[in-house]
Amino acid sequence: MSRFTSRERLNRLLAVIPWVVAQDGVALDDVAHRFGYPRDRLEADLLEVVQYVGVYPFTPDTLIEVEIVDDMVWIRYADWFTRPLRVDPAQAVALLAAGQSMLSITGDDDGPLLRGLTKLGAAMGAGDGTVPLQVRLGEGAEEVMAVLRQAVDEHRMVDIDHYVYSRDEWVQRRIEPSRFFADEGQWYVAAFCRRAEDQRVFRVDRIGSATLTDISFTPPDTPDATPVFSADDTTEVRLLLRPEAAWVADQYPNNGVTTRPDGSIEVAMPVTGRSWLERLLLRLGPSVEVLDSGWFDDRLTADAARRILARYR
């Protein structure tokens, strides 16, 4: 195996040696499994290399001792390698971030993950025991996330009440969730939607309720690569954005941007839902002018403003 370079073997041995030293006799198979070290390679490296490692003048009393009897291994006198190499800051962030995230998904308040994470925080955090790291992968109700994750794991169908943001309406669907994931600060679940009879991706914070059913389904063979944003049924809307609203062109997918001499920006955007466009235009107010409203009528903003104003009267 060519990828198992000298450096990688060194790296693994610096973790293996202190662990074996501390065990006072352990099966070679266990070591191989635990450290991802091919069994034959491990035995050879211990007997042919580690055994001859030591310090000047390399007399027997300055060498590491390796003993292998009946597939059990002991390492002694490895005085320089009684402790493993430290975890570097990026690795510490990786473990702490993974642990914190899982805790927020599973809500496991009293399990090994919390215990392990607490120990990690004490060892790798600031001196006062706090950890200067916070990770939020996305927003979503814990109950909903728990149901969806269970459904993905057990291949069970779920009934969801889903808010369609672009059309401002709630829709009931039965879905077959195949993957639960976070992207760009949001939780999503990828699923086959029985109502649409197609693959869909749902934002978890827009699922109002999720109920696990007893009906199982056969998951797709290959994890789907459904894009988070699929562009079905869209119309193109052209907007003129004042400079202070230029962020709109950065934040949303668009079909082209032209900057005018006065600094204002003309952008062509694919739009699916009326409500989505209403929100955007109402928020932007005088900072936007609609050049072409696509299949929506020109009175879109005014109509929405009237509906909201009715509440205030």
């Binding site: 402790r83 493993p84 690795q91 090994p112 939020r136």
Partner: protein, 306 residues
């Protein structure tokens, strides 16, 4: 002699020595280097760089008693090892599972777990990762600086910033760092992926970190501004209430009606941002108080009708 054996012997020699070793002492004490001064030097330089790449803290320091003064190499044992969290097998397993679900791009979390006691299986079938987080280059150094109460400098926009980092936060799909900006004399927040060049350690932090650390990324848009502070009451319809409650936190809810609608209280220092937030609910929400914010909203909406 194999390269692996030479690297292990070199590491042992550098850990073993109480004082820095001159390069010729290393040549004498570590077997397996080629003959010839230049060949030895090249080979040693490569080895030293490999050890450093792995994270072994090989330092260069003056060798006592040399005249003229010379420098040598060693590895401090305490720096080499770091603190031991003493993880039990079930804790290692839980962290292993977490590390397969949530990953940092380009960072080997499994390598870290090997150093902490090995990869213990949980028996749970892999579903594939739930999240791959970006790893901007400044992330590790900023975390280390926050942890160790160090000050750093880095390029940001057209400026060089001097920051005493307090917290690194992943939110809304990005890494942020919050801390005390030494030049501006106030708390500031930066996007880690916008940092230009290296994050450089400049010494101990001078300012005590706040005891209850505010998480700047959690601040809502309507709290990021300098308007006169005011408390707003907003009514939100039942079908939007669960999302709003979750998003704003249960503490924000001051009233729940029989129909499921709620009233939330929001502390506002950016009125424009509050208006934008309330408008995202379209006709499913309404500013109740204070009158000035309510009037501001109606004026804004009337202007949209013209």
């Amino acid at each position: 002699m194999s390269k692996l054996e030479r690297l292990l012997n070199l590491t042992a020699a550098l850990l073993d020595t109480p004082r820095p070793l001159l390069i010729e002492e290393i040549r004498e004490r570590v077997e397996g280097y080629p003959d010839g001064d230049d060949a030895f030097k090249r080979s040693f330089e490569r080895d030293k760089d490999e050890l450093r790449t792995m994270g072994i803290p090989v330092t260069l320091a003056p060798v006592p008693g040399t005249d003229p003064p010379r420098e040598g190499y060693r590895v401090d044992r305490r720096e080499y090892a770091g603190a031991d969290p003493q993880l039990a097998a079930d804790e290692l397993a839980a962290l292993h599972l977490a590390a397969t679900f949530v990953r940092l791009d380009g960072v080997d979390g499994e390598d870290a777990l090997r150093r902490l006691g090995g990869l213990v299986d949980t028996g749970v079938g892999a579903q594939g990762p739930v999240a791959d987080l970006p790893t901007p280059p400044g992330l590790g150094p900023l975390f280390a600086a926050a942890r160790d109460a160090r000050a750093v400098t880095f390029g940001y926009g057209d400026d060089t910033r001097r920051l005493e980092p307090w917290t690194v936060t992943f939110a809304k799909g990005r890494w942020y760092v919050a801390g005390f900006d030494q030049v501006r004399g106030a708390e500031r927040r930066f996007r880690v992926d916008r940092i230009l060049g290296d994050v450089t350690d400049t010494g101990s932090a001078a300012e005590p970190r706040p005891s209850t650390r505010r998480d700047a990324s959690r601040l809502a848009a309507w709290q990021m501004g300098d308007d006169e502070p005011v408390r707003a009451l907003v009514a939100i319809d039942a079908d939007q209430a669960p999302w709003a409650t979750h998003h704003l936190g249960a503490d924000a809810v001051v009233d729940t009606h029989d129909d499921g609608s709620v009233v939330v209280a929001l502390d506002v220092t950016n009125r424009e941002a509050l208006r934008s937030f309330v408008l995202t609910f379209l006709e499913h929400a309404e500013i109740l108080e204070p009158a000035e914010l309510r009037d501001d909203m109606t004026r804004w909406l009337e202007a949209r009708i013209r």
